[in-house]
Point group: C2
């Protein structure tokens, strides 16, 4: 079965769509500024479950996923269009008021203005489409396609937390004060993630960047594919989520969550280390290097090298 | 139960959202240009039925509804973001290829470029969110809120066709060469409407404008509410769809379709007739006048005046 990534490539080629293929489309705005824009569709029982989350967390997350795409371009978020379809039973409740409250609290923090959208009835499952724009100085959007062999590969923070939170929810745990602090943090990482702010990366001359939404193995494969490079990752350098210690997980499972778990909304970027301030880089985690081995991601784990296949989230 | 229009007003007020309340949001782009942008959510079995339409018609209509919002601002369409959620059984078919073909054929005609969007799996019903931007010369977007008492009220074309087509579909007729020409035209008006181009209206100095998506009675009420005016409509001047002649419909039913049937995607506008070329207006249908009777729409029908309540489409 073709994946959604393959279908998007097919449509891009068939209709010669030159703006498609990065976290955001980049369009000229005025003489000094480019606009970036992204869309994220969230579907009940595919992307979230109402018995796991709250209306407020859902509003927060609907914006967070798009803020992360804007950050991945090194851009500053500006305005949003929010479309939502809700069934009648939720319309006649506080659901939408709480949803917009969660959305708006995060929007305020990131300086985002809601300028439009649509509201529709659905028969059953909620659906949300979050469209968010941002701005960067002209020509300064950070693309996926400009990584070069020899670049170092960094991630902006700890990995695997959101996926571990998802496992806890699947195992029956719920967001509640009864949980221990580590469990609660992991579940919150899944339900109400806090995205990075991206403009700093633009200032410091990062080369290529993508946000970690599908999972490290898949998102790194996107950079490799767009840039025509390969990569080498050292498993002992991967920043495992610091709350994993209190979980009863094998080291294989932890590595799987870190490599293939999605929705951490950290940033994955490459840099030419000779061109960038070492002080800037101390904030982040160096996990490997870009190589000329086009399309191949090598994982060096306990002295052994294996080829890492993209196993992050796919819809199809 | 509060309508979606009331809820949008509530959110607009609660969060002081100044760009919400017209067919599109209007944002500054550069020194000479404003950008307008709209979102339309289409949900299977609410807005369309797969046993009534085709994937190609659906792609066409997903863009058409948004093109009409752009036209209502007097703007020229530019780029689109298209998000779609499809169930697995349709993913493994030609559905999406045909959907994008229908979308793209209309996009080509209107000069629209697809720059992004999202593709997701859904468990059951298809959902589409169509986001479309356009451009107008700075300060020239045509708003709903600037109609004045004394303005004449015009519509850009015949009314009731799409709603009559919907009735035919509900009665079991299907888009097929077996239908007579009038039936086929009405069903096509419902399934694959052709929106107007709006920039001409901007050039000729139209005052207020809205597109007829919910239905004349509701959309005129939106202009009255936004402009703080009333209106008087003369039923004998209403341009009834010319294919109605061959249908077995009472004159009451025809009037109901014209007044309350949605999705004709004609434009409803007001003009100060002293300020506009009479030749421009000969192309359109004068149906009434704006009054100072705030919030009241009078319908003059066979010598009698009745108050016209908004009975167009509502989700809630």
């Amino acid at each position: 079965m073709r994946s959604e990534f393959e279908f998007i490539q097919h449509i891009k080629k068939k209709y010669a769509l030159k703006h498609i293929g990065d976290d955001c489309a980049v369009l000229p705005k005025d003489d000094k500024t480019d606009m970036v824009i992204t869309a994220d569709l969230l579907v009940e029982d595919i992307d979230f479950r109402l018995d796991w989350t709250t209306a407020k967390f859902l509003g927060h997350k609907a914006l967070a996923v798009s803020l992360s795409d804007i950050a991945a371009m090194g851009a500053t978020p500006k305005w949003a269009m929010l479309s939502i379809g809700v069934p009648e039973k939720l319309w006649n409740s506080d659901f939408l008021d709480e949803f917009y409250e969660g959305w708006h609290d995060l929007a305020k923090e990131f300086g985002v203005e809601l300028i439009g959208g649509d509201i529709s009835r659905v028969l059953d499952k909620i659906v949300i489409d979050s469209v968010l724009s941002g701005e960067v100085p002209k020509g300064k959007a950070i693309l996926r396609s400009v990584a070069k062999p020899g670049d170092a590969i960094y991630v902006s923070g700890e990995l695997g937390g959101a996926a571990a939170g998802l496992e806890l929810l699947k195992n029956g745990l719920r967001n509640s004060e009864k949980l221990n602090s580590a469990e609660l943090k992991l579940i919150r990482a899944q339900l109400a993630p806090t995205p990075k702010k991206g403009f700093v990366f633009q200032t410091f001359g990062v080369a290529a960047m993508i946000d970690l939404s599908d999972g490290l193995s898949s998102d790194l494969a996107h950079i490799c594919s767009a840039s025509g490079i390969g990569a080498k990752i050292f498993s002992e350098t991967l920043p495992i989520n610091s709350n994993f210690g209190s979980l009863d997980l094998s080291s294989e499972k932890k590595l799987d969550l870190v490599l293939n778990g999605g929705e951490d909304f950290e940033l994955l970027f490459t840099v030419d280390e000779k061109k960038i301030s070492p002080e800037f880089l101390t904030e982040f985690h160096r996990i490997g290097e870009a190589t000329a081995n086009v399309g191949i991601i090598e994982l060096i784990n306990a002295g052994e090298t294996v080829v890492l296949e993209p196993k992050g989230y796919r819809h199809f």
